[in-house]
Subunit: 381 residues, 2 copies
């Protein structure tokens, strides 16, 4: 109450003694900014303190344009969302990036599809600009969190979110908490070796990685080859009007094109083999499949399901559900907001916050609590 | 203090006002019983409430003798450890079993090397006998917990414990907590397919499982075949005086026997490939290798290390340590005791306990808190 987060409401019914007064959580006491940077689009949103999405913006954008230009765009979109609001309303900022992130420092670490981003101080830049605590994570982690907190995974304490887009990655929820791992790179299933195929070099530099054989880029590449070699009329027609994408393969399969059916089934089986291993190792109750490629047809999901149930241990699949993400591309954005709310309202943080005094509004957290960098970054608060 | 767990000690130095009185945790207020049932031996121990081992017993025992006979032995050994102590001192019991366990009910689930144990109410039997709460888990989980709470993994919040014995299994610590998974079978790496070898049928019924190709039983089997076919003089001499075991292979390798070196290197590589996948997926800071086969020589560990570092992603291995378990066979026993202490003194449980009243001694937990079975088992407390 001292912090303005809880207010007294109406008097409740008396049960004999003094009538109790209702307490109401003031979700509108502040806002959270969230950003999800995909490979080909940037989405930002504004939520209240209960994680309800109040407004959002989405723009096509190539994340390979680099950190400076991309964050210029993010800040412009954030400013649009904040227009007309009093300053100081931003309680925190959450960002999901399409690459490995060192969670403790909020910096990308050698991200394969984000040239120019390696080590860029994403957190520090936004923290300085908005004078608010910032948390940055891999987008697959924020998607897993989004599904766990607001989506189909609500109340499922052990959950795996798998994103099948250009690349392939997974986010893991262990006992109701995100399992990030020691370097924050847990769930990296895209670079598990699945084949002795020694021709296909992955963007990571290794051979036989799942992603290089079954991701969206791989599907488009193999479909293009099939079209060029006259093995698929449907795909050849599509190729005549522009570069093929994974969705062309799904559409070809829906039209009964045998090459496309074979490509999707093969990709689904390879993903299924890797997920069977993940299911054996992690024993989730739910696997949520999302990402552009997963959304584009049932064939891939069917092949994944069939392989996982066949190759995992009976005990691990006894109550396992494998389902498509119904939140779709909202999962990452909402998850980024909940990452902020979870950190902001964690038990340890709340205790320190209440001890800090009684001014109304956003907590003035200590530098350590805001995970500000150890070495000076010019941020004095 | 009301429960006799904390007592006032000496007066501390005054800093101006009233001198503070020291509080002392009475670790001797009760005891915990722990049991680790291995494939070929049974170990039981008695610890204080801080997890300090006060006494223990170990006997050779074939767990395949069945649940009734094995628990008769466990109870006899428990009684020996408790002899002379007043009744009511047992605050809890922890048991590790060499097979999958449904943690919530404390029953083994289709354990491959424990005929007659499937669904046996281990928890209920011991709870009734000792009138104390009981927790039962897979031994690899208790070993992981032992390493995390008292061993080399202390303060390492993301840790994998790998047991290489007759079979192969892993226990996972995620953010300082055991990750059991939805059915309690997380960490089951023994049945990940690692080869297209279609001859070797695993005890689980599938083909190409890691355990069937690289576990202790597999090593002994392959060594026996090599000896019979005249490919190793050393192993043939050993075979003449009895069945070969995995340790014979290690000893042969130490004597430079090329067949044994090849067998251990091959097994180490297969285990390494699977651990590389686990490292990519789980991103631990530490992998602890234990179990009888792992203890019997450096060659296997060297092959595992080499393969994991070569096949995992750079970020996941940047600060990864892979080390042999120094606790050895104590890890499981101590972990079983800490499982009890962690459950007994969890924040939620302590709160309810303190609310229950002020009698000194072991908490009278509610049925729900003791995870007693939902359907009547004759245990009325």
């Amino acid at each position: 109450m001292a912090r303005g987060l809880v207010v007294e409401g109406r008097l409740g019914p008396s049960t004999g003694g003094r009538a109790p007064r209702e307490l109401r959580f003031r979700a509108d006491a502040g806002v959270v900014l969230a950003a999800e940077l995909g490979a080909t689009s940037t989405t930002v949103g504004l939520t209240d303190l209960a994680g309800k999405l109040l407004a959002h913006r989405e723009e096509p954008w190539d994340v390979a344009a680099g950190a400076t230009a991309t964050l210029d765009l993010v800040e412009r979109l954030f400013d649009e969302l904040l227009a007309g609001r009093p300053s100081g309303q931003v309680w925190g900022i959450g960002v999901g990036l399409p690459g490995p992130v060192e969670f403790a420092s909020g910096r990308p670490v050698a991200p394969p599809i984000m040239p120019g981003w390696d080590g860029y101080p994403v957190r520090d830049r936004l923290a300085r600009r908005y004078r608010a605590p910032v948390w940055v994570d891999n987008e697959v982690n924020t998607m897993a969190l989004g599904e766990y907190r607001t989506g189909i995974g609500r109340d499922v304490r052990d959950l795996v979110y798998v994103k099948i887009g250009s690349g392939i990655g997974a986010g893991l929820i262990s006992g109701g908490r995100l399992h990030r791992g020691a370097q924050g790179c847990a769930g990296d299933i895209g670079h598990v070796p699945v084949s002795d195929d020694s021709r296909t070099v992955c963007r990571c530099g290794n051979l036989g990685c799942l992603e290089a054989l079954a991701g969206g880029v791989a599907l488009a590449r193999d479909a293009t080859e099939a079209a060029r070699h006259g093995r698929s009329e449907f795909l050849a027609r599509r190729l005549a009007s522009g570069e093929l994408e994974a969705r062309d393969v799904s559409q070809a399969a829906e039209h009964g094109d045998p090459v496309a059916v074979e490509l999707l089934t093969h990709a689904g089986r390879l993903i299924g083999v890797t997920l069977a291993t993940l299911v054996n190792m992690f024993n989730p109750a739910l696997v949520v499949i999302g990402g552009g490629v997963a959304e584009s047809g049932d064939l891939l999901l069917a092949a994944i399901r069939e392989t996982v149930y066949r190759r995992s241990l009976p005990l691990a699949t006894r109550e396992l559900r494998i389902t498509r993400s119904p939140l779709s591309n909202r999962a990452g954005l909402l998850g980024a907001a909940f990452m902020v709310l979870d950190e902001l309202f964690s038990r340890a943080r709340l205790g320190a916050w209440i001890d800090q005094g009684s001014s109304v509004g956003r907590p003035e957290l200590s530098a350590e609590q805001e995970r500000l960098p150890e070495r000076g970054s010019g941020i004095g608060r």
